[in-house]
Symmetry: C2
Subunit: 200 residues, 2 copies
């Protein structure tokens, strides 16, 4: 039953040979281009392999599965956002008080979910844990945990940040927007209320 076999995360980080690195670049570029051109829905692994000029086996060795590949594309697109909250200007970046940074961070995250919705959705659907394992989730969660622990040192900041990021799961977000017709403003307002309660 080859439908899905979650690839075991290999603990050791072998330094990756030169040809392998080159192929990773080619594959990533090809995937990004194909998505740009025809949408995520239409992205097939065979096609990516052909466009990148490698065998399909190579695509799978580098990226494990579809979801991981798509997340890699998302990540590449988000590099600048990540730089912004790590080292950019306040209130997103350092300098502002924690409460303000948390708020700015979550609002920004709502915006990027809105923008990348299609991609995120596709990636989430293909693999149960690519979102957490491969995507930038770990980074976001860590960032939020740190900020929260400053504001509420008594609480389980790690759990709390999971809980605050959870409503941004692509499938829920899409359901709220498309099926229930909630506006982006309403979602942000909902977050504000939540934050007002949680961060005091």
């Amino acid at each position: 039953m080859p439908r899905k076999t979650l690839p075991v995360a290999d603990g050791g980080q072998a330094p990756e040979r030169a040809d392998a690195a080159e192929n990773r670049r080619k594959i990533l570029a090809a995937a990004a281009e194909l998505i740009e051109a025809r949408g995520v829905e239409a992205l097939s692994m065979d096609e990516v392999a052909r466009a990148a000029g490698v065998g399909v086996g190579t695509v799978y060795r580098r990226f494990g599965d579809r979801a991981t590949l798509v997340y890699a594309v998302v990540d590449a697109r988000e590099r600048d956002f990540q730089a912004a909250f790590l080292g950019g200007p306040a209130p997103l970046g350092p300098g502002a008080e924690p409460r303000a940074r948390i708020r700015a961070f979550l609002h920004a995250l709502v915006d990027r979910t809105e923008e990348q919705l299609e991609l995120l959705l596709m990636a989430e659907m293909d693999s149960a844990d690519a979102r957490f394992k491969e995507g930038s989730y770990a980074l976001y969660q860590q960032h939020l945990t740190l900020l929260l622990s400053e504001v509420r040192p008594d609480a389980d900041a790690a759990y709390l940040s999971d809980a605050l990021l959870a409503p941004l799961a692509a499938n829920l977000y899409r359901y709220q927007r498309r099926t229930r017709g909630m506006s982006v403003a309403r979602i942000k307002k909902g977050y504000d209320d939540l934050l007002a309660q949680v961060t005091g």
Copy 2:
């Protein structure tokens, strides 16, 4: 590209012919049995069809896709839980004060997520919105919204209940439990803290 085509929810509710209803029953029973016997991972639609004694096309006409079928099985298993919070004894059922009911409800939901994790995971992965569209999510969300609006009439209860249910998404829950090693108790405690803040 036939990988996925979300079935359009047909607004009209044609009353379903007798043979169709019978086949639905047979398919559901076969699916439940196969899952029981060999796990969700190994469940193939062709196999379900064969075990139920119908064509594979019939399975798809009745249930649209894998996710919907799996959710139907989950729902069948959860009938009693649903009865418990709708009409059972307090604090889950009516009679207790809203705050206590909310707490009992979420704790119970954590337990059922723990129990049905494999099934929920599989169903979530196959379809982006089967969880919301087909599963009992709507019921849970409605219930929670009602309780919340009693406690916090000023807030956006609908959004808030989405946000409180979001951490129970199977993929996040599994990640917390398996990869990060959080205990069930810790998760419940996290909820308690959240509730203490949100419901005052």
